[in-house]
């Protein structure tokens, strides 16, 4: 076992997902603790290696069937990289792709695993803090001296720390053969206009405080900047300003986004029933006594229009 940290890059459709840079940043910090190098495993898409300037080394596997993610062949490729680099910690995203890789690696290479991690530390042993029980508890685990696998929550560290201009050494490992039991067929893009608010990470939800139908635009502009979808309280849907599938609440849908921004929503129990499961609730309301502030994690007693406009501008400038 080396003291290296192996970060498993995640990419699709020709570009890296943010989680790659987030982990690269966290991986470098961890490598500083172990005294090893921060190595990136890049499976398929070796042409993207030049974007990984912050890494100490990049190990690539390329070959037929690796252009698109495939749980079976990518697992096999990762196992080959792990075997050749024998890292102390393997960092994988707690993402759709990462879920396929982390557990399989842990069993096959007999490595301890901590999932859904917010942070990882290395001393004599490796410890990780996992966010579990719907965010209600953080669980710190000791994974022993290593080697081990950690799967990292998206957003657990800033992506900026994982970006850099260096030109890391690149190494290539041969793609191992597989049984071909899993075959990639195609990618299906979501149909435009068909928004499922239960499957969104960020929701900008509007209530009667928005006032008129035309003013929804203000919230839509903010949503666009945040890459969020628009949801609503029932009166907005009742008025026909938004379709029924945007209604959150008792007689609408239950949502559990990472961030729920409630604009001009008073927080009636029927509404709260639908959104209390959101990881972070931010409420903006002119009434400081609005019940929504009882469930919100963050609140702002402000006019929603002022906040929306300022926030949208700030985000555009970034």
């Amino acid at each position: 076992m080396s003291q290296d940290v192996l970060v498993v890059a995640e990419h699709g459709q020709g570009k890296f997902d943010d989680i790659t840079f987030e982990m690269l940043g966290a991986g470098k910090a961890l490598a500083a603790q172990t005294g090893g190098a921060c190595v990136v495993a890049l499976i398929g898409g070796s042409d993207l290696a030049s974007q990984l300037g912050a890494a100490d080394k990049v190990v690539t596997v390329d070959g037929e069937g690796l252009e698109n993610f495939n749980p079976e062949s990518h697992s096999a490729a990762l196992a080959a990289i792990v075997e050749s680099t024998s890292p102390r910690v393997v960092m994988i995203g707690y993402t759709s792709m990462g879920m396929d890789l982390a557990s399989a690696l842990s069993v096959k290479a007999d490595m301890a695993l901590a999932a859904s991690c917010l942070e990882v530390q290395a001393g004599d042993t490796v410890t990780a803090v996992s966010q579990l029980y719907g965010g209600k508890l953080n669980v710190k685990t000791d994974l022993g001296a290593g080697p081990c696998v950690v799967s990292m929550l998206a957003g657990s560290s800033p992506a900026d720390a994982g970006k850099g201009d260096g030109a890391p050494a690149t190494e290539t490992v041969a793609a191992p053969a597989t049984d071909g039991k899993v075959r990639f067929v195609r990618l299906i893009e979501p149909e435009a206009g068909d928004v499922d608010i239960t499957a969104q990470d960020i929701l900008v939800a509007i209530g009667r405080g928005i006032g008129t139908k035309d003013d929804i635009e203000v919230a839509e502009e903010l949503a666009e900047e945040l890459d969020a979808a628009i949801a609503a309280s029932r009166p907005i849907v009742d008025s026909g300003w938004l379709p029924k599938n945007r209604q959150v609440g008792k007689s609408g849908v239950k949502v559990t986004p990472k961030v729920y921004i409630a604009l001009g929503i008073s927080g009636a129990p029927e509404h709260i029933e639908g959104m209390k499961g959101a990881a972070t609730i931010i409420a903006i309301n002119t009434d400081k006594n609005a019940p929504i502030f009882n469930v919100a994690h963050y609140g702002m007693v402000e006019d929603l229009f002022d906040v929306c406009e300022e926030l949208t501008e700030e985000l555009q400038d970034r």
Partner: protein, 436 residues
């Protein structure tokens, strides 16, 4: 000697028409032979496939659906039709004739079991019996609107329709400024076992009313206790919405709790619990003395009156009769007696009151079909009702069913009557006027 005629009916289609006549007949000396005594054999006017009608009326409890003779008495009585729902027993019967399968139809879920049609129906077509059994059959087939299904799941898992922690049913008590005895923790005989109910325990506005009730009880020195976290939803709405097994489970649980704590009577916050305990629990082996809180307090009006030292500021108050206190159980006076006892309270009636009271839309499971019903109607029943309260010039809409505060407060907003009409539980009005 039957002959056949061909008659052309006004659809333009030719129809067979049979008749009978006696060749010779003399009645009281008058010769009415031949065509003079001709009688038409009733023409077959029901060329309908009645399979679905028979499927429905074969369900024990749903027989009366077949008795309708289309007199239409029920039509102006049905609140769902009034709210643009294109509904009512007469229409359901007609659609069944035309082949509708009620078990697979939107018509199965719109009835609030308000009993206003039953009040006027000469044939006693009884939606209160038909709906629960028909719905139960549909639930078994898996035909349930999603909102209602979620409620069933919540109740099955947590014992309350909100899906809140069963343990937290008693949470409001810990924060209350009133003195409340929680029987499981502090057992012993009490005069009144207060069945608090879900909305009073869990809904923000219900908790306001629960606190008011506890303060009024304290002021009257009522010897009372509550079941705390051991209480479960009464089950009546689940029964009416088609989940009899769940109802039975809940009733068994509550009956067992009632039997564990010695009490003289049960006082309930809501008409639905009242109906369940009074009319349904006996069949499950639970015979209890039960009163709605307005009845319990109206009986003590002489003790209550001197405590009402505040003023209600001459505000105009109108009262909404809950279907399950009024029409179902015949209580119209107790709530009014209480309101009349409040100093400077101007009680006015809406057009549709007492026996003819208009339904809020929450009964028979309607509370958990809000989105479903709203899509089928031009307005919510609660909105229709709020408009009437505003129309008669009320400042306050007084209610005594825990479902209604949330329904009407919401309807006040959605009909843009914010600030014009306040919705208050009668117990809140009494509490407010107790000075303190």
């Amino acid at each position: 000697m039957t002959e056949r005629y061909n008659l052309t009916v006004n659809t333009g289609r030719e129809k067979d028409q049979s008749f009978v006549e006696k060749e010779s007949a003399v009645i009281e000396g008058i010769d009415v032979s031949g065509r003079w005594n001709r009688m038409f054999v009733p023409r077959e006017i029901q060329d309908y496939d009645l399979t679905n009608m028979h499927k429905l009326t074969a369900i024990p409890g749903a027989e009366s659906m077949g008795w309708c003779y289309q007199c239409a008495q029920c039509m102006p009585a049905c609140p769902v039709d009034t709210a643009g729902g294109d509904y009512g027993p007469r229409k359901i019967f007609r659609r069944l004739e035309l082949g509708m399968d009620l078990l697979d139809s939107r018509d199965l879920w719109l009835c609030t079991t308000c009993a206003n049609c039953l009040r006027v129906c000469p044939k006693e077509v009884d939606m209160i019996k038909i709906m629960p059994v028909a719905r139960a059959a549909a639930v078994l087939e898996g035909n349930v609107p999603a909102e209602l299904l979620e409620m069933f799941q919540n109740v099955a898992e947590y014992g309350n329709p909100m899906g809140q922690s069963a343990r937290k049913r008693a949470a409001w008590i810990r924060k209350s400024d009133a003195e409340i005895r929680v029987l499981p923790k502090d057992p012993g005989p009490v005069d009144v076992l207060w069945f608090v109910g879900d909305f009073y325990a869990y809904h923000g506005r219900g908790v306001d009313a629960a606190n008011a009730m506890a303060r009024v009880f304290n002021a009257l020195d009522v010897d009372f206790g509550v079941l705390g976290a051991d209480e479960r939803t009464d089950g009546d709405s689940q029964r009416l919405a088609g989940e009899p097994g769940l109802y039975e489970e809940l009733a068994e649980h509550n009956i067992e709790q009632f039997k564990q704590h010695e009490h003289e009577r049960i006082v309930v916050s809501g008409p639905h619990a009242y109906n369940a305990i009074k009319n349904e629990y006996p069949a499950m082996g639970g015979e209890f003395e039960v009163e709605h809180y307005t009845q319990f307090l109206a009986d003590q009006i002489d003790e209550l009156k001197p405590l009402l030292t505040g003023s209600f500021g001459n505000r105009k108050v109108t009262f909404h009769d809950p279907c399950y206190l009024g029409r179902h159980n015949g209580e119209y006076d107790a709530p009014r007696d209480l309101l009349e006892a409040v100093p400077d309270l101007d009680l006015i009636e809406m057009y549709r009151c007492k026996e003819q009271g208009y339904c809020c839309g929450g009964g028979g499971g309607g509370m958990w079909l809000d989105g479903f019903a709203a899509e089928q109607q031009s307005e919510r029943l609660s909105e229709n009702r709020v408009k009437e309260a505003v129309m008669v010039g009320a400042d306050v809409l007084a209610v005594c069913c825990p479902y209604e505060v949330s329904r009407f407060e919401d309807a006040v907003k959605s009909t843009n009557n914010d600030g014009k009409l306040e919705v208050l539980d009668i117990i809140e009005i009494l509490d407010q006027c107790m000075g303190a």
